[in-house]
């Protein structure tokens, strides 16, 4: 479903990587590996379509992602280094707003359930600025609970999470893969995920 061929990434004057190829099908997890600054985030952004590779092409269901445009974006869920939450809003408001912008249907009840699942029960109505680092990350990750899009792109989701939360997120990813979803993941922690198959791609 997701194919990349001969990708090259150039940042400033530096070629981060080149000749990267991979192919990912339903139920598969791509585990992006590489040290700090090896270009994992850059590759993920290319897969999103946020930036264009210096060379090579990325296809989704056989078509170039640039051509697909909105149809591709409708099947994709990206979580980056930044949490994309507003410090002024409460976790509940954040979750509802991000669902609306992503054109998903989520009612308040579901959102509250999702927040409870990620361990934010009792903090739904506290502005996010008061939350701890890990709790903020949990708000961002609460999106995944009801996310049914085919392709998940997760950039170091486990950062700042405690062991229990890491377990939980790994479980969510596993369930997604078992539903036949695809996921691309970067992380510096070793976490087990139950998946149809895990492909590893090492940058640099």
């Amino acid at each position: 479903m997701l194919e990349a061929s001969n990708i090259e990434c150039v940042r400033g004057e530096r070629t981060l990587f080149s000749h990267v190829d991979f192919r990912l099908d339903g139920g598969e997890l791509l585990d992006l590996q590489g040290g700090n600054g090896s270009g994992k985030t850059s590759l993920l952004r290319m897969i999103c379509g946020l930036s264009a590779p210096a060379n090579g092409e990325i296809r989704w269901r056989g078509e170039l992602i640039g051509k697909l445009g909105e149809d591709y974006r409708r099947e994709l869920c990206f979580l980056g280094h930044h949490n994309a939450i507003k410090e002024e809003l409460t976790p509940l408001e954040n979750l509802l707003a991000s669902a609306k912008l992503a054109d998903e249907i989520l009612d308040a009840g579901e959102a509250l359930d999702a927040l409870e699942i990620v361990g934010l029960a009792g903090r739904e109505d506290l502005a996010c600025r008061y939350l701890s680092q890990g709790q903020k990350r949990r708000v961002a990750l609460a999106r995944l609970v009801n996310e049914r899009r085919a392709l998940w792109l997760l950039d170091e989701p486990y950062v700042a999470l405690d062991a229990a939360a890491v377990e939980l997120i790994a479980g969510l990813i596993g369930a997604h893969l078992q539903r036949g979803g695809l996921a691309v993941l970067t992380t510096h922690q070793t976490v087990n995920i139950v998946a149809g198959s895990v492909r590893q791609l090492r940058l640099n």
Binding site: C48, G49, L50, S51, A52, E70, D71, R73, R74, L76, F78, G80, H81, H82, N83, A84, I85, K86, E87, E88, L89, E93, A97, S98, K100, L101, A102, D103, A127
Partner: protein, 222 residues
């Protein structure tokens, strides 16, 4: 489509309400500038009446200009902008929503307040109407045009000034026609011609500007 725009507007308004600052700051700035002038210039009513259209319009323009850098910067910093760019809808529409929200938060309050301040300057009833109306159709143009500049300078070295440098030339026509309309009303001439030009600018600013803005945002995210 309308749904999306509504969602954006309601989110941005809620944020503005939560921050309060955004809601009042443009307004407050406007009041300050307008009321500082009599302090700096002296109290002669004749002089003040002559100054009024210029001062009021310049203040409105500055108030908008100042709120521009934050239009996309917060979303950019916390990663929301990426999510917006990845939303399965045209980015231009999302920008349109943000422009409208910006206007609701900065332009509309100005418009409502301007006549009150205009009284301070001893403007006639007719002139006050024209003032309010010219701001009503002029400020959306300011928001729309400003969005282009805000997007172009997003994350760029020297953003703030660059933004003024880019946007200001495009604002000057709006200023000239806006202040011109009020001036005409003060002198007793018809403000019709000025106002219809302003109207054209507004349509351009609101419905055309979001598209270059969206393109600029995609470039900024690269």
């Amino acid at each position: 489509m309308l749904n999306l725009i509504r969602a954006i507007i309601s989110r941005d308004l809620r944020l503005a309400l939560r921050r309060r600052a955004d809601l009042v700051s443009a307004l407050f700035f406007f009041i300050i500038v307008v009321s500082l002038f009599p302090l700096g210039v002296g109290p002669e009513p004749e002089l003040l009446r002559k100054l009024a259209p210029g001062v009021l319009w310049v203040a409105a323009l500055l108030a908008t200009l100042l709120s521009l850098p934050r239009l996309f910067a917060d979303d950019h910093r916390d990663g929301t902008l990426e999510q917006l760019a990845l939303a399965p809808q045209p980015l231009g529409l999302i920008v349109l929503g943000k422009v409208l929200a910006h206007w609701l938060v900065s332009g509309l309050p100005l418009t409502l307040l301007a006549p009150v301040l205009g009284i301070q300057f001893d403007l006639s009833g007719e002139a006050l109407w024209v003032l309010a109306f010219s701001l009503l159709i002029g400020t959306p143009a300011l928001s729309g045009i400003g969005a282009i500049g805000a997007a172009l300078t997003l994350g760029v070295r020297g953003g703030g000034v660059l933004l003024s440098l880019l946007v200001l030339p495009l604002y000057i026509p709006v200023l000239i026609f806006g202040a011109g309309a009020v001036d005409a009303a003060v002198i007793g001439l018809g403000a019709q011609a000025h106002l219809s030009l302003l109207g054209a600018m507004m349509l351009g600013g609101v419905f055309f500007a979001p598209w270059p803005t969206a393109a600029a945002l995609r470039i900024a995210l690269e």
